[in-house]
Amino acid sequence: MMKPGSEAELAETIAAMRGALRIVGGGTRGVGCDGEVLETSELRGVELYEPGALTVVAKAGTPLAEIESVLAAEGQRLPFEPADHRALLGTDGVPTIGGVVATNVSGPRRIQAGACRDSLIGVRFVDGSGTVIKNGGRVMKNVTGYDLVKLMCGSYGTLGVLSEVAFKVLPDVETVVCVLIEGLSDAAAVRALCLALASPFEVTGAAHTPSGIDGEPVTMIRVEGFEESVVYRAAQLQALLAEFGESSVETNPARVAGGWRWVRDVEAFAGCDGDVWRISVKPTDGPRVGAALEGARLLFDWGGGLVWAETAAGTDVRGKLTEISGHATLMRGDGFARFQPEEGPLAAISAGLRAQFDPRGILNAGVMG
C-alpha cells in the first residue's frame, strides 16, 4: 500500500506507476477495483477556514469528522449532509472529505441546499499521468475557465486523485423539527412531499418509509431555522397537508436528528443480504419505481426523487425500470455494473474524458465504465 505524505509525493507516485491503482480515502464507500492500493489518508488537515467568508479548504485525506467539528465550533456546517455508508456497506475505516467528493455523497438536505457538487468550489488533483492540476479556488463565485470542479466531483477517482478540496459552507441552524404523517401509501406520501416542497416553507428534508421503526409507513418533513420561524412553518405545513390526515410535529432534537440520520445513512438496509440500489428519478415517478420493483424494500428521500431499494440479490432493477427516465446505481451487490451504462455519443464523451485525464487507464479502472 502507498500513502504519499504530500501532493508532490502523490504526483511522483502516480507518474512512476506502471500498473493499475485502486484509490482509497478511508475505504468506506465500497468502491472496488483491481490494483495496488493508493491511500490519501496522509494528506491531512484543514488548510484554511474563514467563517466570515463561509469557506473551508482541506487536504483530501482529512477525516470528514474533523472538518465537521471544525465547522461546528463556529456554528457552521457542510450544507449537503454527507452520509456515512459504513453500516450500509459493511465497511470500516474513517470517511475522508476526499472520498465524499469523489463519490458526490449528498444526504436529505440535497433537496434544498444542493449536492456535494453544489457546495464544492475548488479542487487540486493529480491526473493519471502524474500532473498536478487545480481548478476553481476558495471563492464561492467563479466562472474562470471550465468547471472541472464539478467534473471531478462524483468521478470516483477515475480522472485523478484529489489532493485538496474547498467548500462553501452554511450557518448551522438554531432549531430543527420534523412534521410526521403516519399510514400513507407511497403514492399519497409522495403527493404530500411534493406539496410541501412546492410551498414557500423551505423544507430541508422530505422522506417516506413504507415501513418505519414500528413497521408502519411514516412520512417525514424537516423544517430548520430560527425557532419562531420553524414553529410557524411547521404549523403552516400541517395545515397545508391536512387532507393527508392527522400529523404531528417531533421537536425533540435527539429524535429528530436520529430520524434523519436513519434516512441519510439508509440504516434500514444495514446488515441485510439483498442488493442495494440507489435510483434517481423525478419525484412523482418514485411510487412508479416502487411498483415496478414489487417485493423490494424501499426508502424514499428527496421528495420521492431518490429511491433506495433493497432487492433479492441478482434482481435486474434496471431491466424493470426501462419505462421510467432516470438512472440506477448499484450501491451494494456485484451482479451488475455499478453505474447505469451510458449510450452511444454520451458514452464516447465519458470515455474520451477518462482517456484525456488518465491516458494509461490506471486510475480506478473500470469503476465508471
Binding site: E50, G52, A53, L54, N104, S106, G114, A115, R117, V132, I133, K134, N135, R138, V139, K141, N142, V143, T144, G145, Y146, D147, L148, V149, K150, L151, G154, S155, L170, P171, R191, L197, A198, S199, E202, G225, F226, E228, S229, Y232, R233, S280, K282, T284, W302, G305, L306, S325, G326, H327, T329, F339, E342, P345, L346, I349, S350, L353, Q356, F357
Partner: protein, 479 residues
C-alpha cells in the same frame, strides 16, 4: 484585441456555405448581406466588433444540428449567441465564422409544479422563464442584471449569477438537464427532471463552458415557490473596512441574507444624481435583504440591525413598506445606468475573499490615481464578487487602452489575494489573455483537453476563453 487571422479558404467559399445553410433552414433564417449582419457584429462588449460571414437563426434542435453538421463538414467556425448581452465578448464573431443565434428557440416546452421544473428552449429570456411560472407564485432563481434581455442559452454558457445567488446559487446549481448539440451535429441529452444526472457530471462541465463544447437548445431548470416576503435594510458607513467587517459579522452570526450589495462613494453619488433614490452620502453603503415569513424577516432584520449598530453606521434604514423597499433597490439597480450617463465605462467582474475587501478597495483607489481614470465600485458583498466600473472616454485616443490596462491590474490583484478573474460574466475575449495569471500551463492544458473531446477540430467559439497562443496549434494556426 488580437483575434485569429480569418481562414482564407472559408472566406472564399462564402457563397457555397450560405447556399448549403439555406437548404436546411427556412427562408429568412440565413442572414448574409453585410448590412443585415451588422446587428451581430458585437455583443455588450461594444468596444470590439467584427462582421461575421453569416448569421443563422434556427427554430429547432434539428435545424441547429443540421447547421452544425454543415459547418463541421466545411470547416467553418461557429459562434453561438444567446441575446448578445455578454460583457466579456463571448459572442464576438470572427470574419470567417457563422453566428448561430438561438433567439427563435423561445418556447416553454413543459411546466411541472409537482416536480418543480420548467423545460424551455434555450433562446427564452431569463425573466420570461420566471414570467411563465409567476401566476403560480413560482420563479427561476438566478437573476443576472440583464435578465430582461439575456437568454437561458447565454446564462448556461457563462454560468450566470445575480444578486440573489448567495442563497439560491448560480445557474449551475439550478440546471437539471440540457439538450446539447455537438459540433458535428450529434444531439445528446444530459440529465433531465431528476435531481442528479448519472455518470460523470457533464452537466456541470457544460455549464460555464462559454459555448465551446456544444450548443444548448433546450434546458430543464429548477423552479421554486416564491418566499412569503422579502425586505431590505440600507446601512451607510464612513469607512470601507467597517462595511466589510459588518458583512463578515452578519455571516458569522448565522444569518444568511438572500443578498448583500455594496456601493462605494463614487457609485453612491452617481446613482443619487441619476435616480435620486435618497441614498446617504457616505463612504460605503450596504443593502442587505432577507426573505421568508414575517416572523423570519423581523427576527433576521433584528439581528442584522443589531450587528450594524455595533459598527456605528452613519445611516441605518429598515424598509417599512413595499414602496420603501423599491426605493432602496432603485439606488442599487440604477448603478450601471448612472455610470453610463457620466461617461463610457468598463464593468469588471473579479472575485476576492471577503476578508480582503478593504485592502482591495484601497488598492483600487490608489491605482485609480496612478492611471488617472475614475472608478466606482458596486458589488455582491456576500460572495466577494466585485464589479468595479472604470470610467473612460471612448472618443479620446488611448483612453480605452489605459482603461483595459487598469482593469487587467485590478483583476490580477483579485487573483493575488486568493480570488479569481471572473465571478459571473465569463472570460470571453475580454479576460482571455489574463488566464495564465490564475492558472498554470498544466491547469489550462487540462481544460483544453476537455474541449478536444467535445470539439476535436476546435470550430466552436474557438478564439475565446484561452490565450490564443495556447490554442494556436489546435485551431490549425501556425504557433
Amino acid at each position: 484585441m488580437e483575434m485569429p487571422v480569418p481562414n482564407a479558404a472559408v472566406l472564399s467559399r462564402k457563397a457555397e456555405i450560405v447556399a448549403r445553410l439555406q437548404t436546411v433552414l427556412p427562408q429568412g433564417a440565413v442572414i448574409h448581406q453585410p448590412r443585415e449582419t451588422h446587428a451581430y457584429e458585437c455583443d455588450a462588449l461594444t468596444a470590439y466588433r467584427c462582421p461575421p460571414l453569416a448569421v443563422v437563426l434556427p427554430s429547432s434542435t434539428e435545424e441547429v444540428s443540421a447547421v452544425l453538421n454543415i459547418c463541421h463538414d466545411m470547416g467553418v467556425p461557429v459562434v453561438p449567441r444567446g441575446s448578445g448581452t455578454s460583457l466579456a465578448g463571448g459572442a464576438l464573431p470572427t470574419e470567417d465564422s457563422v453566428v448561430l443565434g438561438v433567439a427563435r428557440l423561445n418556447d416553454v416546452l413543459e411546466t411541472d409544479y409537482d416536480n418543480r421544473f420548467i423545460r424551455v428552449q434555450s433562446g427564452r429570456t431569463n425573466l420570461s422563464v420566471s414570467g411563465a411560472v409567476e401566476e403560480n407564485a413560482f420563479f427561476y432563481a438566478p437573476d443576472p442584471s440583464s435578465q430582461l434581455a439575456c437568454a437561458i442559452a447565454g446564462n448556461i454558457a457563462m454560468n450566470s449569477g445575480g444578486a440573489h445567488c448567495l442563497k439560491y446559487g448560480v445557474t449551475t446549481n439550478n440546471l437539471l438537464g440540457v439538450t446539447l448539440v455537438l459540433m458535428d451535429g450529434t444531439v445528446i441529452e444530459i440529465g433531465g427532471a431528476h435531481l442528479d444526472a448519472g455518470g460523470l457530471d457533464l452537466l456541470g462541465l457544460i455549464c460555464g463552458s462559454e459555448g465551446q463544447l456544444g450548443v444548448v437548445t433546450e434546458a430543464t431548470l429548477r423552479i421554486l415557490h416564491k418566499p412569503e416576503g422579502a425586505r431590505p435594510v440600507l446601512m451607510g458607513f464612513d469607512r470601507n473596512e467597517v462595511a466589510g467587517a459588518c458583512v463578515s459579522d452578519i455571516i458569522k452570526a448565522g444569518v444568511l441574507p438572500v443578498a448583500i450589495e455594496f456601493m462605494d462613494r463614487p457609485c453612491i453619488r452617481a446613482c443619487e444624481a441619476h435616480a435620486g433614490a435618497g441614498c446617504p452620502d457616505c463612504e460605503a453603503l450596504l443593502i442587505v435583504e432577507v426573505e421568508g415569513s414575517e416572523a423570519e424577516i423581523v427576527h433576521q432584520l433584528g439581528l442584522i440591525m443589531e450587528i450594524a449598530r455595533n459598527h456605528n453606521p452613519v445611516e441605518l434604514r429598515e424598509s417599512k413598506s413595499e414602496e420603501e423597499s423599491a426605493r432602496i433597490w432603485l439606488g442599487r439597480k440604477a448603478a450601471f445606468g448612472a455610470m453610463g450617463r457620466i461617461n463610457d465605462y468598463m464593468c469588471l467582474d473579479g472575485v476576492i475573499p471577503v476578508s480582503e475587501l478593504a485592502f482591495v478597495l484601497r488598492r483600487i483607489g490608489e491605482m485609480s490615481g496612478e492611471y488617472g481614470l475614475d472608478v466606482a465600485n458596486v458589488f455582491h458583498a456576500g460572495d466577494g464578487n466585485l464589479h468595479p466600473l472604470i470610467l473612460f472616454d471612448a472618443n479620446k485616443p488611448g483612453d480605452l487602452e489605459t482603461c483595459e490596462a487598469f482593469g487587467a491590474d485590478i483583476l490580477k490583484l483579485c487573483v493575488e489575494v486568493g480570488g479569481c478573474l471572473t465571478g459571473e460574466h465569463g472570460v470571453g475575449v475580454e479576460k482571455r489573455d489574463l488566464m495564465l495569471t490564475q492558472f498554470s500551463p498544466a491547469d489550462l492544458e487540462a481544460q483544453l483537453r476537455v474541449k478536444d473531446v467535445f470539439d476535436p477540430d476546435w470550430l466552436l467559439n474557438p478564439a475565446k476563453v484561452f490565450p490564443l497562443r495556447e490554442t494556436a496549434t489546435r485551431r490549425g494556426e501556425a504557433a
